[in-house]
């Protein structure tokens, strides 16, 4: 290996690292707010990229149907609970309308837009609009009824959701892979290094999102409410913060970040319906660096995972995944030695 190859690998690793960092941040956020280990995060990555791929081909992506069905199910379940609780019919109807309006608008928009070959940016925004609301819907249907269950039960639920979403991904997108067109085909040369426009976009969007999240949590009331819920659920509830709302928001953010990551890496890698899972898990390996609690720790871990992967594929490409996923063991060992016993939820 010479310096130029090392440079290329460093750049390459940092690009995937930036995406892993986004995913790791979302995972830390969801875990802090809801105590859910959000295994299905990766499915949103695949959904984002493949929804765009379907739109590119002028087809209506199956995720639109999923959105519609989940929205109807969640609304029915809420309405059923409200009827049993004896709430007035007017209010039930209003809640149902509010719960269905957003998904309905998105679905109609998608129906209209799908065959029309809109510009790439508009299609990307549409893909985000389709996938993001899946997060809160998944929260309402799968996690909310178990919001007070032990972490372990929530983790098993996550695995169930992962199973269902992966199978649905196969149903919607089929078994073949897709590679999305690049957002920006420009290439910048600096000596032996080539920085593609797409990589630049990945860096810029990741940085913008991280700054945006920082502002969201530091400046806005909603962000502060999420932080309060993360610190103490009961205390937050006593202050009038809806932990249910916090759960929906955090999973909405996670789905948004997942879909966005999918859009970002869609042009750099071939996406299959189950590729997202591995990408999401690499986000987990990164998040574990920070003990699933520290945002800077997770970001540093993500960069490390990105480099590990790029150098790993250079030296022993067949063992790339083995190296990345085995790395979790020394990291856990290091955490268990330095941070020791933390038991009892």
């Amino acid at each position: 290996m010479d310096l130029s190859i090392a440079g290329i690998l460093l750049l390459d690793g940092a690009t995937s690292g930036a995406v892993y960092a986004l995913l790791a941040l979302a995972l830390v956020l969801v875990f802090a707010v809801t105590r859910v280990i959000f295994i299905p995060q990766g499915e949103f990555v695949a959904y984002g990229a493949l929804t765009l791929a379907m739109l590119q081909m002028g087809k209506l992506p199956g995720t639109v149907w999923l959105l519609a069905v989940l929205a109807v199910l969640a609304t029915l379940r809420d309405a059923f609970a409200a009827v049993r609780a004896g709430q007035p019919a007017g209010r039930i109807a209003r809640d149902a309308a509010r719960s269905l309006a957003g998904p309905a608008v998105v679905a109609l928009l998608a129906l209209w837009a799908a065959p029309r070959q809109l510009p790439l940016v508009l299609q990307s925004l549409l893909a985000l609009a389709i996938v993001t609301p899946l997060g809160p819907l998944v929260y309402r249907l799968a996690y909310r009824p178990l919001a007070d269950a032990p972490v372990l039960v929530l983790l098993i639920v996550s695995v169930g959701v992962h199973f269902a979403l992966t199978g649905l991904g196969l149903l919607f997108f089929g078994a073949e892979g897709f590679r999305n067109p690049s957002f920006w085909d420009e290439r910048f040369r600096a000596g032996p290094l080539v920085l593609s426009g797409q990589a630049l976009i990945i860096f810029l969007v990741s940085a913008a999102l991280i700054v945006g999240l920082g502002l969201f949590f530091g400046r806005t009331l909603r962000g502060k409410a999420l932080r309060a819920t993360a610190v103490n659920r009961l205390g937050a509830r006593l202050m009038g913060i809806s932990t249910d709302g916090a759960g929906r928001w955090s999973m909405g953010l996670a789905a948004f970040i997942g879909a966005l990551s999918g859009l970002l890496i869609g042009p750099t890698t071939t996406m299959f319906y189950d590729t997202g899972f591995l990408i999401g898990l690499k986000g987990f390996v990164a998040a574990i660096f920070g003990g699933l609690a520290s945002y800077p720790g997770a970001a540093a871990g993500a960069l490390f995972v990105g480099w590990l992967e790029s150098f790993g594929s250079f030296w022993a490409s067949a063992y790339k995944e083995v190296i990345v996923f085995t790395m979790i063991l020394p990291v856990l060992l290091w955490r268990s030695v330095t941070h020791g016993q933390t038991d009892d939820e």
């Binding site: 280990i37 295994i39 249907l141 799968a142 009824p145 178990l146 269950a149 032990p150 972490v151 372990l152 039960v153 983790l155 098993i156 639920v157 695995v159 169930g160 959701v161 992962h162 199973f163 269902a164 979403l165 992966t166 199978g167 649905l168 196969l170 149903l171 089929g174 078994a175 591995l278 898990l281 987990f284 390996v285 574990i288 699933l292 067949a318 063992y319 995944e321 083995v322 190296i323 990345v324 996923f325 085995t326 979790i328 063991l329 856990l332 060992l333 955490r335 268990s336 941070h339 020791g340 016993q341 933390t342 038991d343 009892d344 939820e345």
Partner: protein, 588 residues
């Protein structure tokens, strides 16, 4: 012969008969797969349902068992009966390493580590030249017994199901033993079991290795049944399906493992035919149904199938076979008046807050010392400093002259300090007797293996005898077989005292034992405390019930805002203007 024994015998007989009947080969193969899965799931039941840990990577242990035996028989020409030990040793080693690394930390690190581990092992199997890459290893010898090769589904069936039944039996016997109670106590957090002298870390590693060994055994059988191995049945998807089987069957139920394995296997076969026809295309669509079902079961029937079966069976009282067991040896009590507990200017700071400010007091043998004070005075914190739940910032705690501050609570318990909890900590799904026997844990020593083989019944009888004796003492001898979770708060507190007494302590720490007790129960409690004192026990009592404290205490320590206000006899404390001011405020 109990009805459950009859049921078991009938089930075993049906299994033995089945291959002799003209059952289609297809169903024999199905049953063989169910048996192979059930072995893994029994381990998961112990791990997840009983100990409250979980793993998505059991498929990887199956893989290690299968590949090791395949490689050893193919390359070294070993007999499968020898190769099994290689596979199991490697499985145990891997499980030890994983457990040792992750189990010191919170419960979610183990499952996350097992996901990563299962993935990386899958890719490793698929890329190693020596293991035939993704094509795997072919031409593995079948198992043979006395020179008779088990190369048909029907002959293999006997060996497999004999092992499944033995494993299930061993697991149920383990759960009904000293080690089993320790495992069942893990689920509620480590504070209580540690206070009973149980090494929770070791118990967790043990149960994880045990589950891995069962998986490795299944892998060994799989390799010699299938006669070929490749990475795909050992991937994460299968790892998650094993957990799914455990959840469907009922995670707390050993026999539920068989039910779960059967239901999932049969369902999977149906779905794999039905769904592609329904949805068009091909692929493993059954995971959609599995995923939705898994979430649904957890939301609506978290205890699974078998729990519903068990709930319909009558619960029978345990047979009392310990009446003539030899009593457990008791530690020599310190002579009356000897200094037992010496708390010397202990201090606890939480950041800038001084919760306990240089408090000193002593407890002598045969003495009841009350620790009182208004809410927030630091009584419970002091209590936790003495029992080792919290580390001290400064100061010394000595038990009969030996320093015990800095020791883990398990170490303090082993030196003869027993405690109860302000918020009752118990295993709600165990009976009262079993909960109390948990207190006697450190007075026994037989481990997991003798328990599985029922070689520890002598010791078990002695432990249960002791538990019953202590329950009699607190007036609960008639409630031995009730589930602890069904008791009202008062009896739960008495049960905790009995549990603490089962440990044969020289010092008893009681944290608000009278809270929630009715008047009669309080009087009975006072009687028990006096009797214990007469036997030479020392008691430190944190309590809000002034009648009880004044009634039984020899001396009282009063705390306020983390500092020690005064010490004295009940009469002195009652006469003190400072104490009255602390509780009621002063006139200005």
């Amino acid at each position: 012969m109990t009805s459950s024994r009859w049921f078991l015998l009938a089930f075993a007989a049906a299994l033995a008969l089945l291959p002799q009947l003209p059952v289609p080969e297809f169903w024999v193969t199905q049953l063989n797969y169910i048996g192979l899965y059930a072995l893994v799931v029994i381990g998961l039941v112990l791990l997840t349902g009983i100990a409250g840990l979980t793993s998505f990577g059991q498929a990887a242990f199956v893989g290690i068992g299968a590949y090791s035996s395949a490689w050893l028989t193919l390359n070294l020409g070993l007999s499968p009966w020898l190769a099994v030990f290689g596979g199991l040793a490697l499985t145990a080693l891997a499980a030890l390493l994983l457990g040792w690394i992750t189990l010191r930390m919170s419960g979610h690190y183990l499952p996350l580590a097992t996901i990563a581990w299962c993935l990386s092992l899958y890719y490793l199997f698929g890329n190693l030249e020596a293991l035939g890459r993704y094509d795997g290893l072919l031409g593995i010898a079948p198992l043979s017994v006395f020179g008779l090769p088990l190369n048909t589904g029907r002959s293999f069936f006997y060996l497999l199901w004999a092992l499944v039944m033995l494993a299930a039996l061993a697991a149920t016997q383990l759960l009904d033993s000293r080690s089993g109670r320790a495992l069942r106590a893990l689920k509620g957090g480590s504070t209580m079991p540690e206070a009973m002298g149980i090494d929770t870390f070791r118990a967790k590693v043990t149960v994880f290795v045990l589950a891995a060994l069962l998986a490795g055994m299944s892998g060994w059988l799989f390799a010699h049944f299938q006669r070929s191995v490749n990475p795909s049945p050992f991937g994460l998807k299968m790892g998650i399906e094993y957990l799914f089987m455990a959840v469907i069957g009922g995670v707390g139920q050993v026999w539920g493992a068989l039910a779960g394995a059967a239901v999932v296997k049969l369902l999977e076969d149906q779905l794999q035919v039905l769904l592609p026809r329904l949805l068009g295309g091909s692929g493993s669509y059954e995971v959609i149904v599995f995923g939705v079902l898994l979430v649904g079961v957890l939301q609506y029937a978290r205890d699974g199938l078998w729990a519903a079966v068990v709930a319909r069976l009558p619960r029978r009282a345990r047979r009392r076979d310990w009446a003539d067991a030899a009593p457990l040896p008791e530690a020599a009590r310190p002579p009356h008046g000897e200094l037992v507990l010496d708390v010397h200017s202990v201090r606890k700071e939480f950041g800038g807050l001084v919760a306990v400010n240089d408090v000193s007091f002593q407890v002598r043998a045969g003495e009841i010392v009350g620790l009182i004070g208004p809410n927030g005075a630091g009584k419970s914190t002091t209590f936790n400093l003495v029992s080792g739940v919290l580390p001290l910032t400064r100061g010394e705690v000595r038990l009969r002259g030996e320093r015990i501050d800095g020791l883990p609570s398990r170490g303090i318990a082993r030196r003869g300090v027993s405690r109860t909890f302000q918020h009752v900590k118990m295993v709600p799904e165990m009976t009262v007797l079993e909960n109390v026997a948990l207190g006697a844990h450190r007075r026994g020593r037989r481990g997991v293996l003798p328990a599985m083989l029922r070689l520890e019944r002598d010791e078990e009888r002695r432990l249960l005898r002791e538990a019953e004796r202590q329950l009699q003492r607190v007036g609960m001898a008639d409630r031995l077989d009730e589930l602890a979770g069904n008791l009202a708060l008062g009896p739960q507190r008495l049960m905790e005292i009995a549990r603490a007494l089962s440990a044969d302590p020289s010092l008893l720490l009681l944290d608000e034992p009278a809270a929630g007790l009715r008047h009669q129960e309080k009087r009975a409690l006072a009687g028990v405390l006096r009797q214990l004192r007469a036997e030479g026990l020392s008691i430190l009592l944190v309590e809000h019930d002034m009648d009880l404290v004044m009634d039984v205490s020899d001396r009282i320590v009063v705390m306020e805002f983390g500092t020690q206000l005064m010490q004295g006899t009940p009469a002195e404390v009652q006469a003190s203007a400072a104490v009255r001011a602390a509780y009621l405020g002063t006139e200005h």
